[in-house]
Amino acid sequence: MNLLTYDFMQRALIAAALIGVIAPLIGIFLVQRRLALLGDGMGHVALTGVGLAFLVGSAPVPTALVVAALGALVLEVIRSRSRTAGDLALALVFYGGIAGGVMLTALASGKASSALNQYLFGSLSTVAVEDIAWLVGASIVVVIILVIFGREMFAMTLDPDVAHVQGIRTTRLGVLLTVLAAVTVVIGMRTVGLLLVSAIMIVPVAAAQQIAGSFRGTAIGAVVVGLACSVAGLVTSFQLDVPPGPSIVLLSLAAFVVAALIAIPLRRRRHRHPHAEKPVQEHDHA
């Protein structure tokens, strides 16, 4: 493929493959915890990091990593320390994030404003050589943490009370998951963009769970869908000369529609399963 002859495309493909694998692995826990919109919020917060990087002239990826991770911690503190409902706490942090990002970017030079677009919707050409090291490093950290704590996270998202009685520190694990979501958002920031990165965390999971019969099956399916859509979306963007974020997300949504269509006959068969769904019967022994 001739597009691999371009250095920037090689880097963009590496970045896309990383987010395609990592995002659904975190997303599945967010969906299970009914926090599907958390990634969106973390994207808004990361925008403040990008704005800050523009203003002080630091590297955007590590700055956004730090700011998003701090935002994740603030969110968890608001959630646990106050009576603010979960979604309200999310909303507060999100608005602060996006307002802060746009404000800081505007305060920086005029050139930064046009660069902001690339962070919002992704870009083929902006994955810098030094970014790759950060993205690979962050991805490895996320995977190691998942290997160590993934099963505990599964138990926690299945039922936090039962997990507590197994000695699992559910509060700390919840904070860890939010921070991982923040890191994942930054990994996807360059290719998918901050406004759409949450989609690649959630949509492949939504597609896989139409067909899968287990958590493991959903995870594997979501990674396959995520990886395929990220890489194919990137190639499509190259050919059509459009930002990669929308291509990747539209392909994921198409995968969801296909999965949902495949699931219709599957579901019907499940209902015909000889042992399935036995209604509660009022036994009358009289």
Binding site: E152, A155, D161, V165, S214, F215, R216, H275, Q281
Partner: protein
């Protein structure tokens, strides 16, 4: 640990919600091997007491000790198994029956899967008669079957104390029989069982002790009765009949007529 150390000790436990007292000065000791049912009408704080015992809600006063250790310092969670009424996340991401049971084996001391986990899961599912549904989606099971799977999860843990929230509420007859049978085995094996229920029903033959929670004043439940079944008559009449709803419930088998399911 000597034989007289209670498995669970509630020492003068009080719990407030939003400045109103839900439980006031509850003292209950559960001894190893006890089969205890905590009874009470809706709103009598029985689920609150259970959650307080598990450290799921903060106490306003008093202390809970498990095997003599204060709850905040208790770490030996493998000795305790808890079965909720339903799983918090049911229906979000698909999970298989095997995964639901296997999740109970996960803990900070057992982060990675171990050899023998699979066998423990299969054996536990065998005990509730659902090993043939191992690979099915949890949400494709009926309510009663789901409850049996959650009980299997507790069994797989091979704990000493089993704490259950309304284990037979809304469960079909077949599952109810299976569940009662499972508890008979647990009782015979000398395990400690504590269940919260609004009707003793099928468990009346198993329960060695009942604790009735309620309130004479309407605020702050306390222990109205603590002893062997059945529920004393003065409670079933005076205190259970003070509202229309309770009169209606009084006609159901269970509380008023333990063990005699007409």
């Amino acid at each position: 640990m000597d034989a007289t150390t209670p498995a669970i000790c509630c020492d003068d436990v009080s719990v407030d919600f939003d400045a109103s007292c839900v439980l006031s000065n509850i003292s209950v000791d559960i001894y190893p091997g006890d089969f205890t049912a905590i009874l009470g009408v809706n709103g009598s704080g029985k689920t609150t007491l259970m959650r307080a015992m598990l450290g799921l809600i903060p106490l306003t006063g008093g202390a809970v000790r498990i095997y003599g250790t204060d709850l905040p310092r208790f770490r030996d969670w493998s000795r305790l198994a808890y079965v909720p009424q339903r799983l918090h996340s049911a229906g979000a991401v698909p999970v298989s029956v095997h995964e639901v049971v296997g999740a109970s084996l996960i803990s900070p001391r057992r982060r990675l899967p171990r050899r023998g986990d699979r066998l423990a899961v299969t054996n536990a599912l065998d005990l509730v008669g659902l090993s043939n549904r191992r690979k099915d989606r949890f949400d494709s099971l009926s309510g009663g079957q789901q409850r049996r799977v959650m009980i299997a999860a507790a069994l797989a843990k091979d704990a000493d104390i089993y704490i259950l929230d309304e284990p037979t509420a809304g469960v079909d007859a077949e599952s109810q029989e299976r569940i009662t049978e499972t508890f008979r085995h647990l009782q015979q094996a000398g395990r400690t069982v504590l269940l919260v229920t609004h009707e003793l029903g099928a468990f009346s033959a198993l329960a060695s002790r009942i604790v009735v929670l309620g309130s004479r004043t309407g605020v702050g439940s306390h222990v109205l009765y603590d002893g062997p079944p059945p529920v004393p008559e003065h409670l079933t009449e005076r205190h259970w009949h003070h509202s229309e709803e309770v009169i209606a419930r009084g006609k159901e088998p269970g509380l008023l007529d333990p063990g005699n399911t007409a």
